[in-house]
Amino acid sequence: MSRKAMTGNGAIALALKQAEPDVMSAYPITPQTEIAQNYAQFVADGAVKTEYIAVESEHSAMSAAIGSAAAGARTITATSSQGFALMWEMLFIAASLRLPITMPVITRALSGPINIHCDHSDSMGGRDCGWVQLYGEDAQEGYDNAIQAFRIAEHMDVRLPVMTMIDGFIISGAIGPLEVLQDDQVKQFVGPYEPIHPLLDIDNPVTVGAFDSLGGWYFEHKVTQNMAMDKAMSVIESVGREYGQLTGREYSHFKTHMIEDADIVLVAIGSAAGNVKTMVDRLRAGGVKVGMMKVRTFRPFPHLQVAGALAGARVIGVMDRSDSFGAQGGPLFTEIRSAMFEAPRRPQTFNFIYGLGGRDIFPDDIEGAVRLLEKAAAGEEISQKRYYLNVREVSLDGQA
């Protein structure tokens, strides 16, 4: 293991290089571009055996990845924002064909208006496309998740594509410290690739993507697909434990901090978890019984474990970096609230939407949220559930 200073994108490109898949198809998009171009350079330098397809769109990036994975090759791509949206159709197909493609997503706001900065509208929009979703807080987690993604995706009980998220610019473009494994350690951890029914097996020709309409088995196939997602739950944990043995950094579905005796718990996902942790420590020093949960696995959503971990909380504040128009709150909020519905002592839940289009979140914003949650914990009736942080002319008190 060595220590380096790298951007989030650099860290992920390095992880992919060390895993050295057979094929990468990629198309540039801010803020993912650095990954596409770094990897192209690795190929140009002969540093990897990977064949690189410089496709003409993200739709083709995912289509080519599907072709390659179905052919029997370990295959990756990477994207952000509009690229993710353009892949949309193919994301579902990659999952339903049970192809273990892995894809770092460098999260960025979706148009419109066009905005190149971070929020989770892209990946959260794709939360039901059948991919396993892992969110990282920083470059280290982005690197670690990108490596573990191969093992999770390719596990024979799972065989589902996996996307690993880091926050665009905030993490992808910022230089930070990174613990790096040796190349052979990564290769050994990832292991050899075992395709199922590869198209290139001339002794056993197969048909992939058959028509399965009314009178067919579409429903059975979709149920089977969700069974694989259920199985991914324990595979993510076992791979995370094994990775911990290798690196000292063990991963599970989420991490908690100061949660044991907390009345108030903030739940966050992505890079803002670091800010939240800092504020939890600061507020704890001031006597507030606050803790936090950082969610890593969003699909499959570990609702039972989450409900267990949050069982002691009286008030939960869920922080979403994307909105869900017309819903009761952001995607993380609706998951957490649903997970807590059957808790023996059902907590109050509040949603704080922040950071859309790369808007900063400040310590005061988080403190303001906690002060509001304190009131609820003290028994004050607060009917409003959804709040926006750091929006012009909108304060926490005056939101309707």
């Binding site: 339903s96 199922i196 029914h197 056993n204 197969v206 992939v208 059975e220 196939h221 089977t224 069974m227």
Partner: protein, 115 residues
């Protein structure tokens, strides 16, 4: 993973019984599906007139002209949909399209005569 499917069983298969991704793990399984029932007309080939030129073979949409050793041996009625292209393209008028029901009745008669 590769195993021969029993088609009679598949109709009952629930979740988890199929291959991952709904892949069909064998090739050419459509051969087991009968499309001959679509026919309203049946091609009847006159062996005398036919010179095995293969024009009908290459023009058949349903892979139903059976060829062995360069000779047209017969027409695969399990799959032939009775489109009539073979009769239309034949330069020697060696294929005639016959009403399917009549053809079946004649077949039945022949069977009876045999018995």
């Amino acid at each position: 993973m590769s195993k021969k499917w029993k088609f009679s069983d598949i109709v009952k298969w629930g979740p988890g019984r199929h291959e991952p991704g709904a892949t069909i793990p064998e090739s050419g399984t459509a051969e087991q599906y009968e499309t001959g029932g679509w026919r309203t007309e049946r091609p009847i080939r006159d062996r005398e007139k036919c010179n095995d030129c293969m024009i009908c073979f290459f023009a058949c949409p349903d892979s139903s002209i059976r060829v062995e050793n360069g000779r047209l041996v017969d027409i695969d009625l399990k799959h032939c949909k009775g489109c009539g292209i073979c009769a239309q393209v034949c330069p020697r008028d060696a294929i005639e399209m016959k009403n399917e029901i009549e053809a079946r009745m004649e077949e039945g008669k022949k069977e009876e005569e045999k018995v």
